[in-house]
């Protein structure tokens, strides 16, 4: 009986109905929830990565090659020959991802992926600037920043395409890998591929939003919330990259 009195005398709270307890619109809330579940998808892939990776011994330390050192032709075969790249050892990522476009024959560990990370961070910044401009209803600024974001996304995709091409030319496939266990290549392709797919769809969404901005759809609507929602998605893609970068390249 005490229950009902408690219920009726309860103070008006944010949960009282008639408004959002999170004080966000339903659209943004949906985007957040979607991102939460998408985070679980990525987590499951990363868990699979962690599991498989962890059943192999840690990478053996590399005393053979120093950064910026000159590389000869057939570098992979040489490393295999000296027993560095074998099926039962996880390779050190720096020895795998050590190329840079237009520079041949030099050991440039992780330089390229650092560049990719930077591009993605930068495009995140332009995105959030677009959101900020949207708050001020500054249509022109939103459009400018959106264009930068789209370019950043495309640049990232281009980088990834180049990296994949290099990796594939060196002989990596889903079912084989000259650098070590085949799971290394397969996981790399699947996880970065899944991330790249997210970037790609983000770029597509950005383009749609950009066109709508130009058309003045949001100007008419009175707010730029769509930009904000797509922005959330775009930052999430960046967020995932932080972890992909950490797990695949650094550890």
């Amino acid at each position: 009986m005490s229950n009902t009195t408690a219920l009726t005398t309860e103070k008006k709270s944010i949960w009282g109905g008639g408004k959002s307890p999170f004080s966000v619109s339903y659209g943004k809330l949906m985007m957040w929830i979607f991102l939460l579940s998408d985070a679980f998808t990525f987590s499951s892939l990363l868990v699979a990565y962690g599991f498989v990776r962890h059943t192999y011994p840690s990478p053996v330390k590399n005393e053979l090659i120093k950064p910026m050192q000159h590389l000869e032709e057939g570098f992979v075969e040489q490393m295999q020959h000296v027993g560095y790249f074998t099926d039962d050892k996880w390779p050190l990522p720096e020895l795998v991802f050590n190329h840079f476009p237009f520079i041949h024959g030099m050991h440039l560990p992780l330089f390229f992926v650092s560049l990719m990370t930077f591009i993605l961070i930068f495009s995140s910044v332009t995105m959030v600037l677009a959101v900020e401009a949207g708050h001020r209803m500054a249509k022109k600024e939103v459009a400018t920043y959106m264009i930068w974001t789209i370019l950043g996304g495309l640049a990232f995709l281009g980088c990834q395409a180049w990296e994949w091409t290099t990796f594939i030319t060196e002989g990596a496939r889903l079912d084989s890998n000259p650098f070590g266990p085949m799971a290394f290549a397969a996981l790399f392709f699947i996880v970065t591929g899944f991330h790249g797919f997210h970037v790609f769809s983000g770029v597509v969404l950005n383009v749609i939003i950009y066109l709508n901005v130009l058309k003045g759809t949001y100007e008419k609507r009175g707010h730029y919330e769509m930009v904000e929602k797509v922005g959330l998605y775009w930052h999430f893609v960046d967020l995932v990259w932080v972890f992909v970068f950490t797990f695949f390249y650094l550890i």
Binding site: T8, L36, Y56, R173, L187
Partner: protein
């Protein structure tokens, strides 16, 4: 993704809902939540009929392994040559039966139907947050069902690795006939299904959180809504993991990777030697979904039961807050116990201990729920309608099946019970029969809301009694077969003398199952004929408190003409002393309470513009947890 660009046109539908509706926009690509609920229900019923027919076919095989049934050849063709079921197809049948029942009937058919129907109506919203996504959710589900059914007809037959599709059996296309195209289609169907579940789940959560009408505090929500909310959260967090896992399985099957394969010679694995993976990894990823899935199935049924029991006992549900607390506890715990399906898989025994601990703790909130149901019945004034009978049946199954969970959750006891008929009996009672009973209860209870007519009560009662008796006759004896060590998924027990003893019991079970099947025919007839011939329902046929019965009988877009009613009380003011009727609907204010909320409720369903005080420490959930923990004082 999709919620982005559809957002814009998601509203014009019901705000200006008076524009002309074509047949297609009204019945096929409808964005009205009530219609989508009916679509989910009818698809679920069709799938359920199919799933049950399959179970009857393999039950025949189990009971009469030496007999020939010529009709099998005519319906199954090469899989039933000479009237005998093919052993490989037997496995396919159990696989598809499990898949259909777990995902298509009890996930989509149960929570899809009632979440869609009840969430907007009971929280007081015009429709779901995004009706377009809601429609998409149904069509993904429909597509998924179609793909699954198509897989029945491909060469080699449908997937036949059990509904848990453990690799390598599911990963090596040559391991069983069904591991070929059938398995690929199964995975495709599952990914479509997950898309549907996510689209639905995002919508349900958002609607419950953001779209409640004025005065509909979280502590005034009917327990159904609480159950649907947490079900959606469970699905949202667990289905993506299966998505990731399935993706890797597809790669293992078709692209030569080996995440789940280890030490498989090349000739077994399509020419590529597979090393370095672990079959156990799949099981972890699968059961990280799979265990919450059990509660995704059960929680809506328990929510429906809470509502139906309270309404028909004419009593407030006992311990409303404890009920919410126990659902919350079950939901949280369900994520940390998945390993109890894997005690015997060669998993680290230490993990076995961890999972066992978590699993047995779940029994506490479950016990609280059971006792609260009993306390609600105590001194009530029970109207034994079909819905109420099914709800009582659910509680009975929940007890019987739940108690055997205490055996199976115990890693030590699992040594001899793992994968035997004991397991079959356990989960068919606790999440099969119980959830089906919850679904039936919901159908009988909310049929007037869906179809504006009542179902025939007498047929409903006959349906209930036959189903109750047959379900117990089917599943109770199975415990003993399990304790005798009879493994599940056996085509016949003829190879083992000590199992052959149970042939008579198997026959008994099969006949009971046939009776149960026949009882469902009564239901089907009742369900479909009542749409046209049922007695017209009044607005509030069960004299219920919840908001959906304040909406007019005739369906309209936006649910209520004019304003959405404001809520002044919780949903369970039944037989309150001092009131004339034995129920007080939620939108009836107490005296002196009216002043609190004089401003009219907005007719649109966007949340209002007010800024919420961030430092709201006295939030409902917090106080709820505090109270729940504070019992010890």
């Amino acid at each position: 993704m999709s919620n982005l660009h559809h957002d814009d046109h998601s509203h014009d539908n019901h705000n200006h809902g008076h524009h002309k509706e074509t047949f297609i926009s009204k019945y096929v690509f409808s964005m009205d939540h009530k219609m989508i609920a009916k679509q989910f229900l009818i698809t679920g019923i069709i799938m359920g009929t199919l799933g049950m027919a399959m179970s009857l076919i393999f039950r025949l095989q189990l009971a009469y392994p030496d007999m020939k049934f010529p009709f099998l050849e005519s319906i199954l063709g090469q899989w039933g040559k000479d009237g005998k079921l093919d052993p490989n197809f037997y496995l396919a049948l159990i696989t598809i039966h499990g898949t259909i029942m777990v995902f298509y009937v009890l996930t989509a058919g149960l929570s899809g139907t009632f979440s869609n129907l009840l969430i907007p109506l009971q929280v007081g919203a015009r429709d779901m947050a995004s009706p377009f996504m809601n429609m998409l959710s149904y069509w993904f589900f429909f597509l998924s069902s179609v793909v699954l059914i198509i897989s029945l007809f491909v060469e080699g037959g449908p997937a036949s690795a059990g509904w848990t599709v453990y690799p390598p059996l599911s990963a090596l296309p040559k391991a069983v006939p069904g591991s070929g195209t059938g398995m690929t289609l199964w995975l495709v169907a599952m990914i479509l299904f997950i898309a549907s579940a996510l689209l639905g789940g995002i919508n349900y959560i958002t609607t419950v959180l953001n779209m409640r009408t004025k005065g509909m505090k979280m502590t005034r929500l009917p327990l159904t809504i609480w159950a649907f909310l947490l079900t959606a959260v469970l699905g949202l967090l667990s289905f993506p993991v299966l998505m990731g896992g399935s993706l890797l399985l597809i790669f293992d099957r078709s692209f030569g990777t080996s995440f789940y394969l280890a030490d498989i010679p090349a000739d077994l694995a399509g020419g590529i030697e597979r090393v370095g993976g672990s079959p156990i990894l799949w099981q972890h990823l699968f059961w990280f979904l799979g265990h919450p899935e059990v509660y995704i199935i059960l929680l809506p049924a328990l929510g429906i039961t809470s509502e139906v029991i309270a309404t028909n006992a004419r009593k407030p549900i006992f311990g409303y807050r404890a009920m919410i607390g126990s659902i919350l506890a079950i939901a949280v715990l369900s994520f940390i116990v998945w390993g109890h399906h894997m005690f015997m898989t060669g998993m680290n025994p230490f993990l076995g201990s961890v999972f066992m601990l978590g699993t047995l703790i779940i029994a506490v909130p479950s016990a609280v729920k059971t006792f609260n149901y009993l306390a609600t019945l105590w001194q009530g004034n029970l109207r034994l309608t079909p819905a109420m009978m099914f709800a009582i049946g659910l509680v009975s199954f929940f007890i019987t099946g739940g108690l055997t969970g205490i055996w199976l959750g115990n890693a030590a006891l699992d040594i001899n019970l793992h994968d035997t008929y004991f397991v079959v009996a356990h989960f068919h009672l606790v999440m099969g029969s119980a959830a089906i009973f919850g679904m039936m209860s919901g159908i009988y209870h909310w049929y007037p809301k869906m179809f504006r007519r009542k179902m025939n009560e007498t047929l409903g009662q006959v349906h209930f009694w036959l189903t109750l008796v047959s379900a117990y006759c089917v599943f109770f004896p199975m415990h003993f077969m399990g304790l005798a060590g009879v493994p599940r998924r056996y085509y016949a027990n003829s190879a083992y003398d000590q199992f052959n003893v149970f042939i008579d019991m198997n026959q008994f079970v099969t006949i009971a199952a046939l009776l149960g099947g026949a009882a469902q025919l009564i239901f089907l007839w009742n369900f479909f004929s009542s749409m046209r011939n049922g007695k017209r329902s009044e607005q509030n046929p069960w004299e219920s408190n919840t908001l959906e019965w304040t909406a007019p009988v005739e369906h309209i877009h936006g649910n209520w003409p004019g304003e959405i009613p404001t809520v002044y009380r919780w949903a369970y003011d039944y037989s309150k002393p001092g009131s004339e009727q034995d129920f007080i609907p939620q939108n009836v204010p107490d005296e002196g309470q009216v002043d609190e909320q004089v401003e009219p409720n907005p007719t649109h369903f966007e949340p209002s513009k007010t800024k919420a005080p961030v430092a709201a420490r006295e939030t409902v959930m917090f106080s709820l947890v505090k109270r729940w923990l504070g019992f010890a004082k």
